[in-house]
């Protein structure tokens, strides 16, 4: 008798129900996401030069994403687990299709055109990887053994590799991190993390020694874009001016000069954080960060309350990934981190990322809803 069937029996039901009874919605999550999205639309209106059509499109995207959120939050986590390997494999297939005949946009090949919509399979991978890791560890005792770690490494490195080929290093990194965090939560020993970290740090001087001058220059520009103000550093300098001139209270909505005089590149997408900082100041940014942290905290709380390995790992992994999104984007805009193309969750203009983020949040809600049902 397999372990999963034991659990099926103890679950008190012999039939897999695709949907839970009634509509279950996690109110705190709902309120926070809607608040962030509204803030996003308000700032987008300013960032795109007061064009209401761009805001309308963004609101429409959020509407679609919100619908996805509602639907996903109704799926039973158990069914999710059964579907996981299939979803993972299909997304992997889509990634390969992107490489073979994807649509080129912005110098990289990351879009897949399916009739009416274009989307980035790499975005979906950000959810699939934590799901797959959680699925793999579900039946196995924690913490993972060494051979299991190797399999887990493959699960998140192979898709990341495919994404890096597009080339989209930012997303590849995020996929790796989302998988890595889930493994971390699965009980990866802290000593092993320490050893891996030390090995990575130790290999840097060796790698550096074998690199050619121009490669070193590229790495330096990547790590510190401000050393190349005529190229990659231009964005950073402009976004720092936008943030810094915003001060504590900001210049006020629609009054951001850096953004409106078009000094700040990519102000409606990856650098929208700087527009918020310019117009709403430090206080505005802190409010946004509080909203994000609340959402992440709620996710971690759900993870702590969840009652199976799959649910715990998935909820925890998704929450941490969400935080990484926020930190990498804001770190990039403030010049703390290298410039990688990572949007600000639920705020940056862009469709696929919005939908996958809301789907991820929907998974959190679904896990929480299931727990309640069991308890009742």
């Amino acid at each position: 008798m397999s372990l999963s069937s034991i659990e099926l029996a103890t679950g008190g039901s012999s039939v897999l129900r695709p949907m839970q009874r009634g509509v279950v919605i996690d109110i705190p999550i709902l309120i926070t996401t809607v608040a962030i999205a509204i803030l996003g639309c308000v700032i987008l209106y300013s960032a795109v030069g007061e064009s209401s059509s761009a805001v309308f499109r963004q609101a429409l995207r959020f509407g679609v994403a919100f619908t996805v959120f509602i639907i996903v939050s109704q799926i039973s986590p158990r069914l999710m687990r059964v579907w996981t390997p299939w979803v993972f494999c299909i997304t992997l297939g889509l990634l390969i299709m992107v490489l073979v005949n994807g649509v080129v946009g912005g110098g990289a090949q990351r879009w897949l055109d399916v009739g009416i919509i274009r989307f980035q399979p790499s975005e979906i991978m950000k959810i699939c990887v934590p799901m797959m890791v959680a699925w793999f560890m579900h039946d196995r005792p924690l913490p993972p053994t060494f051979s299991q770690l190797v399999v887990l490494l493959l699960i998140f490195c192979f898709p990341a590799f495919l994404i890096a080929l597009q080339p989209d290093l930012g997303t590849a990194l995020l996929v790796m991190l989302s998988g890595g965090f889930t493994v971390l939560l699965a009980g990866l020993s802290l000593r092993l993390i320490g050893i891996l970290g030390a090995l990575t740090l130790g290999s840097i001087p060796v790698l550096w020694h074998y690199m050619l001058d121009y490669q070193r220059a590229r790495v330096m520009t990547f790590l510190s874009p401000e050393s190349d103000p005529l190229g990659a550093g231009y964005n950073i300098i402009q976004s720092k001016i936008a943030l810094g001139s915003g001060g504590l209270f900001g210049k006020g909505w629609l009054n951001g000069t850096q953004a409106h005089l078009e000094f700040l590149p990519e102000r409606s997408t990856d650098f929208i954080f700087a527009v918020i900082g310019e117009e709403f100041g430090l206080l505005g940014l802190l409010l946004l960060l509080v909203l994000y942290l609340f959402l992440v905290g709620r996710g971690l709380y759900i993870a702590a309350q969840a009652q199976s390995t799959f649910r715990r790992l998935l909820a925890g992994g998704l929450s941490l990934t969400f935080f990484v999104y926020v930190f990498v984007n804001s770190g990039m805009v403030t010049g703390l981190l290298p410039v990688v193309g990572v949007p600000l969750p639920l705020v940056s203009a862009g469709g696929t990322s919005m939908v996958t983020l809301m789907a991820g949040v929907g998974v959190l809600a679904a896990i929480h809803g299931k727990r309640k049902l069991l308890a009742s």
Binding site: L142, L185, L243, Q258, A304, G316
Partner: protein, 640 residues
Amino acid sequence: MSPTVPLKDYWKEQKIFLSRLIVASFMILILTSVLVWRLFQLQVVEHDFFSELSQGNQLRIEPLAPTRGLIYDRNGVVLAENLPAWELTVIPEQVLDLEAQLQDLGAIGLIPLEYEGLTELVRSHRGFERVKLANLSDVQAARFAVRRHQFPGVDIQEGLIRNYPFGELTSHAVGYVASISRSDLDRINRSEYAATSLIGKSGIERSYEVTLHGSVGYRQQVVNAQGRILMDPVLAANSRVNLEASQVSLETRWPLPGENVFLGLDIELQIAAHKALEGKRGAVVAIEPDSGDILALVSMPTFDPNQFAGGLSQTDFQILNDDPDKPLFHRALAGHYPPGSTIKPFLGLAALHHRVLDPDHREMCPGYFLLPGHSHRYRDWKPEGHGPMDLHQSIVQSCDTYFYQLAVNLGIDNMSPFLEGFGFGERTGIDILNENAGVIPSREWKRTQFAGSENQTWYPGETVITGIGQGFTLVTPLQLAHATAVLATGGQRFKPRLVIGTEDPLSGTVSKSQPVLLDVMSNIEESHWIRIVNAMVGVNEERQGSGRNAMRGAEYTVAGKTGTAQVFSLAADEEYIEEEVDEYLRDHGLFIAYAPVDHPVIALAVVVENGGGGGVSAAPIAREILDAYFIEDIHVSEQH
């Protein structure tokens, strides 16, 4: 339940998970604190500085162009330099009415009257970026200076323009620079070129672009809405804002000048070679045998590289490009020619090495050759025949019949690898672009180049004509000179190179690069080399020698070989088909030589397109060049 399935301990797992969750929460807390601290730094501590920057005043990053490295010949004569020039520039956001201003500038003759292209150029830049409109002469600069107040936002600036003192003489070796094009943008790091408007397009200027260009610098300035500099670390006197108070300093990084490059070229010899070939179409390549240094590199006709640096109009470029004589085509590196009889010394050496004939045995030359069992007559250039011939005389008099037989004895399978050993059939690897590989045919080559089994088969008749450098065989003048240099050194192959060293302009440190030895043919007997060399000396000294007329009375010993290449039957030579059919179908004249014979210092190849026989067209040119090298003693005269 199977005992091999490990049981899950839910209680323990929950504990592990919760402990990890706590670790993760701490990480989140720490990272968030870092972020908030950073935001506080930017938005509160440095707020004053940044608001100064954004309140109408802007931080401008002014790129500073590096000075391009100079190019010298082997004796330090300057072949490419930078001359000061006036540049007319505009800062778009400071101009009120661009169209009107450009029109006025055109009216006083500073920019072309058709300025649509310039309007587009200015509009494609960001408002605060300085855009170059034109180069100005001193007179034009003076004309602008008195009217400056009428043109807000327009200014003259000192810049540098590339100049080639020897003009068309060095264009095919040194190359030229021209405005950065769209295709250039794809292969360069754009920020490195933020202040540079010219880039190497061909020759050394292209292949040593990275060395010559240097590294861009920049300086940060604070400017007001009118573009006036308020704060500049360099112009500290203009500073209105207190740098200390803002806690942020403006950065300056000076550009690093490009390195100077020394060529192996000897400009006096280059001039002599240019003069000797002037008015003809063809190429001269002279190499120092024991280093591979290129002493002279001429492709005729040529063009003036200064035209490109100064900004060549589309019409002028079309004229150059459409010229039927193809001045832009690098004949010395990319021109494919049948080697004709210049291939004979190499094949003679191959025959000796493979011992397929007795070199002293005399064979009757009736003026034609027959393959056993075939009736086709392979004709000698001398219809009445050369009489009894040994290897020596057949090189001296360039007897075709003897070499038809020699080729049959050797066979194509021996010929091809031996010729490839001298560098034929592959790029020599010279340090400038656009070299062609030539063709050394073989059974394998024919199989891969043609379709259909009939065309893929190697026929005995093709071996026969390969023996006199006709048929499929194609070489470049550079390959011929290179192979001649290998003959001169008795089998040492040095990679041909133009650049022999670089100089750091700041420290003055010169770093010389070592010659690259590609191969040493140690397996060929000394006596074989000597036999071939003696025959090549005979070409110029013996009574019947094909180079005797040209080399009569030379004050140095020369080993040489003439060649005459038929063109009319060749499909491969597509360059000249349309106009002046008669002239363009005449034979190419070739000559290879090295001198002095006992300690060679120069090896060269001369190709004269459609010049007729090599002995009368190419050999006299070689004589002129060698005379210039040895008699006029340019090495002494250059010590000034």
